[in-house]
């Protein structure tokens, strides 16, 4: 739940607002789409929700934690456990194989090797990419890379999945597949998903859409 969130930067003595008086409540199990033109603050809002970025004013409650009061370490602990990120440009680590990419978040949660193996194995199964586990990201198509990206985001069993234009770099067929996947995740597993998107078509997969314009929520519907 976000209340009266303001975020700004000061350029040449003037405040430029990145987010202005954002009030937004997302319930568990929702599939929210954030839309809006370029520069309207969509990605910034997503980063704030994901606790990658701070804000200057307002209150943000995440799973009954008051985020603005948390220390850096606690905040990172919180998102490490509960939030998964999917990026437009996939942001896989080129030097690591598919398997290792998916495994990476588990390394940072101090999970035992055997356990990690099982978890990654399950994930590879679920996404039908067992055969590709030893390939490097550059050897995959965009759609496959994004699939790995989502698998990596889900490996820690987060309660919230954040996706910043997950289909932006994909062709329409690949994009549809990804959106279908999100839809299934939301419907069948009750995963809370917040995605930023340009396309009405993608927003239609969600249960609710928020429109941003000039750092404000224009339509909360």
């Amino acid at each position: 739940m976000l209340e009266n969130i303001f975020k700004w930067v000061t350029v040449g003595g003037n405040r430029v607002f990145l987010l202005k008086d954002i009030n937004l409540t997302v319930k568990e199990g929702e599939f929210l789409s954030i839309m809006g033109p370029s520069g309207s603050g969509k990605s910034t809002l997503l980063n704030v929700i994901g606790m990658l970025d701070g804000f200057n004013e307002g209150q943000y409650t995440f799973l009954s934690h008051a985020v603005q009061q948390l220390k850096e370490k606690q905040r990172s602990q919180l998102y490490k456990q509960h939030v998964g990120f999917v990026f437009q440009a996939y942001h896989l680590i080129d030097e690591l194989t598919v398997y290792e990419n998916i495994e990476t978040p588990l390394l940072y949660q101090d999970i035992k090797t055997s356990e990690r193996k099982a978890m990654v194995g399950d994930m590879l199964d679920k996404f039908n990419i067992v055969g590709k586990k030893d390939l490097f990201p550059t050897q995959l198509s965009g759609g496959q890379q994004q699939l790995v990206g989502i698998a990596r985001a889900l490996i820690t069993k987060p309660r919230l999945l954040l996706a910043d234009e997950p289909t932006g770099n994909l062709n329409s067929k690949q994009g549809e597949e990804i959106m279908e996947l999100f839809y299934t995740l939301n419907r069948e597993e009750g995963m809370t998903i917040i995605q930023v998107t340009h396309a009405e078509k993608n927003a239609a997969y969600g249960s609710r859409t928020v429109h941003l314009l000039d750092a404000r929520i224009e339509k909360n519907g």
Binding site: D53, H91, Y108
Partner: protein, 775 residues
């Protein structure tokens, strides 16, 4: 932002290269000074010192001294020798004029000295200088000390040793610092031989002889004639004279078994190589940073290629950039050089100058700029210009496998060199300490050595009593020679059962009876001399090594005949080290003969304030010797001076090891910064996935630490090999212990961690949002 980043790369490059160039130039100045030793003599190629190889017990030893009559005889009898002179150098003769009294070093010599060494006279002339026996030629510096700015010094009178007057007959320039012969005054040799009649004897070797050959003469042929020359005159066939060329005086003055084996030259060569290595390290930085940045410049190359630039043209562009930077670095390097030269001079004890007017220096600088530019620019130019524009544009990040490997290889080279230098520095230090801490057979701490002057010998009893009364002085004694020097030696000692076929070289020391106890030497058998017992003047003390030569049983009670007198051995002294500090010293005989001594030893009490003790000695000195300035030496200092060249190597290797490491670290720093930047995206991703700052910093550092560890593995055997060889050159040497390697490795690692982790932590702390934003 981008511009600033590029600029900081440029600065790191420039700084590394200019430090490298400045240090290379320092070394080259030092090398130049060493090579140019004795270059002021126009007859350098024709001048020779005469040395002697003497054979004792099958071993050949080389000495500087020759018999007094040698010089005249060799000129008269050996064709090709056009000139010769005898010299007797004296360290400190007291000169006085009015209130001023100063000890000055100088030399008694023949007037041929002037033409041989092409001495130019500022006042007076070579022709008239030694016409009168009481004439003296002094340096301009000495003239200034006595007569200030006054001109027309010729004709002025100076008093020598408070006893006789001499007249200045000429003023000459003081010898420049990098010449072997150093003197402030020159006086006729006859003055010296009149009071030292033994120098006219063929059997006495105490005079330095110099000869000048005709330009056509062959030194090899003359050496052949010299070999038996002294033997014919003196009858001692074991002595062979030979020529020692002036060009070898400074750099190749070591002899082993009668053969010239080198000397300082090895160090000069070594440091010339070090200069090259430091430049190379600096160039490596340049190459590494340039290729590392290449991924950024790949786009520029691609665009230029698309616009029609040929590969050659691009290569020229990059080499041109490198040359420009190295020219800038040379300028910065010269500025640095000017800044640090005084400190460097203090360190090496020289007065090196930048030499702005020397065209060779400018040529060298230009050469360095060109070389660095080409070396540093060649690989990046070759590498960058080879980019294919299509692949460059396609993939954001070009695969740069070979460049990465070469970069890593170069870092390994840098760190290997640095580690070798660290190990070498430590081993050199340990060796110097090892020799300095060698048990030399007496206690050299708190021990003063003072020249006997004036009436001191007659007043010795009173001086001794007054000093002992002061409670600051433990004991005093007299000796004919400084304890660390060889002094007088001969083979004319005889004893019952001596093998007549063997000649044993034995040092003679005339001492006062307090000597052994004052110096802290150890009597191992028998007794010491008895103080105030003139009857002991027919007794002697000998060292253990002589006792062994004299037979199996104790030598106490045996008799040794020397110069027609019989002496009874009353005590055996533990061997002590003198002469060559790395070798065993010859046997010594101590005679009870205080009247024949020249050095006054004072043992201060341990814990006594040296300044108070010195003041005390000075006041006693003033009382009994008012006409002579009080000058003293600490035996410990004299001992340390024996290791001058080793200590110089020690200091130089420390400085240059440090510089090599600094330059390597600059490179590593730049590379780490670059790598961190290249991996920003990855770091961002990992951070979002929950990586902590620590694990990220570790990830970034690990890559470099592997390189450093690999460098250690490479460097250790090399360092071990080099330093073992160096130590082999010393008879008395330490061994290389494994701690040195561990310490050097840890040291390199710590320095590398420190350098790299700064960048790593900075990157790991950065917010991931920026790096993950999709453009």
């Amino acid at each position: 932002m981008r511009f600033r980043k590029e600029r900081s790369y440029g600065l790191i490059n420039l700084l590394g290269l200019s430090i490298g160039i400045a240090s290379a130039m320092l070394i080259l100045l030092w090398v130049e000074d060493e090579i140019n030793f004795d270059n002021t003599y126009t007859k350098k190629e024709l001048l020779y010192a005469v040395r002697e190889n003497q054979t004792y017990d099958g071993k050949v030893r080389t000495f500087d001294n020759t018999p007094g009559p040698f010089a005249a005889a060799v000129k008269a009898e050996i064709p090709g020798v056009v000139n010769s002179c005898r010299t007797a150098f004296r360290r400190g003769i007291l000169f006085s004029a009015g209130e001023k009294a100063i000890y000055e070093r100088g030399c008694y010599t023949d007037s041929s000295f002037f033409s041989m060494f092409t001495i130019s006279f500022l006042e007076g002339s070579a022709k008239d200088a030694f016409k009168q026996l009481n004439g003296v030629v002094i340096s301009d510096a000495m003239a200034k000390r006595f007569f200030g700015e006054e001109k027309n010094v010729v004709g002025k009178t100076l008093k020598v040793d408070n006893s006789r007057d001499v007249v200045v007959t000429g003023v000459i320039k003081e010898p420049v610092e990098n010449s072997t012969l150093q003197f402030e005054w020159l006086a006729p040799f006859e003055v010296f031989s009149a009071v030292s009649p033994w120098v006219n004897d063929w059997g006495n070797n105490s005079i330095d002889t110099y000869v000048e050959l005709a330009p056509t003469a062959s030194p090899v042929a003359i050496d052949k004639q010299l070999a038996g020359f002294i033997g014919k005159k003196s009858g001692s066939t074991g002595t062979q004279a030979f020529l020692f060329a002036m060009k070898d005086w400074h750099l190749r003055d070591e002899f082993t078994d009668g053969k010239q084996t080198g000397g300082q030259e090895e160090y000069v060569q070594l440091f010339a190589i070090v200069a090259g290595i430091i430049l190379l390290i600096a160039c490596i930085n340049f190459m590494n940073l340039a290729t590392a940045r290449s991924e950024k410049r790949a786009k520029e190359v691609g665009v230029r290629k698309v616009l029609g630039a040929g590969r050659k043209r691009l290569a020229f562009q990059f080499i041109g950039e490198a040359l420009l930077l190295s020219a800038l670095a040379v300028v910065a390097g010269v500025l640095l050089l000017v800044l640090v030269l005084p400190a460097f001079n203090a360190l090496v004890g020289k007065q090196l100058q930048v030499g702005w007017s020397n065209p060779i220096h400018f040529a060298t600088l230009a050469g360095i700029a060109l070389l660095c530019g080409l070396v540093a620019g060649s690989y990046p130019a070759f590498y960058l210009s080879s980019f294919n524009p299509v692949t460059v544009f396609k993939s954001q990040q070009s695969k740069t496998g070979s460049a990465v490997w070469i970069r890593k290889g170069l870092v390994v080279v840098q760190f290997s060199i640095s580690i070798i230098l660290i190990v070498s520095t430590v081993v050199v230090y340990q060796q110097v300490q090892y020799v300095k801490n060698r048990n030399i057979g007496y206690n050299k701490e708190n021990l003063l050595d003072i020249d006997v002057r004036g009436d001191m010998l007659n007043n010795f009893g009173a001086i001794k009593q007054e000093l002992l009364n002061s409670r600051l002085i433990e004991n005093v004694a007299l000796s004919s020679y400084e304890t660390i020097n060889i002094g007088n030696n001969s083979t004319n000692h005889n004893w019952q059962g001596k093998d007549p076929s063997k000649s044993v070289l034995i040092s003679n020391r005339m001492v006062s009876p307090e000597f052994i106890s004052t110096l802290g030497m150890h009597i191992v058998k028998g007794r010491d001399f008895r103080v105030d017992t003139p009857a002991d003047s027919s007794t002697i003390l000998i060292t253990e090594s002589l006792e062994r030569i004299m037979g199996k049983d104790s030598a106490v009670g045996k008799t040794i005949a020397f110069k027609g007198n019989n002496y009874q051995v009353v005590g055996i002294v533990q061997d002590f080290i003198y002469g060559d500090m790395y070798n065993k010293s010859d046997p010594v005989v101590f005679f009870y003969a205080p009247a024949a001594t020249k050095y006054f030893y004072v043992r201060m009490k341990t814990g006594a304030n040296p300044e108070e003790a010195l003041a005390q000695i000075q006041s006693v000195w003033k009382k009994y010797n008012p006409a002579y300035p009080f000058v003293y030496r600490f035996v410990n200092d004299a001992f340390n001076r024996r290791f001058k060249s080793e200590m110089l190597i020690e200091k130089l290797s420390q400085v240059f090891a440090a510089l090599a490491i600094i330059i390597s670290c600059l490179g590593l720093f730049g590379l780490a910064a670059y790598t961190a930047e290249r991996r920003t995206k990855e770091i961002g991703v990992r951070k979002v996935l929950g990586a902590s700052v620590n694990s990220l910093a570790g990830l970034l550092s690990a890559e470099f630490l592997q390189l450093v560890i690999f460098s250690c593995i490479l460097a250790f055997p090399v360092a071990w090999w080099v330093m073992s060889r160096w130590l082999q050159g010393y008879n008395y040497h330490t061994s290389i212990r494994w701690h040195v390697f561990v310490a050097a490795g840890i040291c390199a690692l710590i320095i590398a961690v420190f350098t790299v982790s700064f960048q790593a932590i900075k990157t790991a702390m950065a917010s991931p949002i920026k790096s993950l934003r999709t453009e």
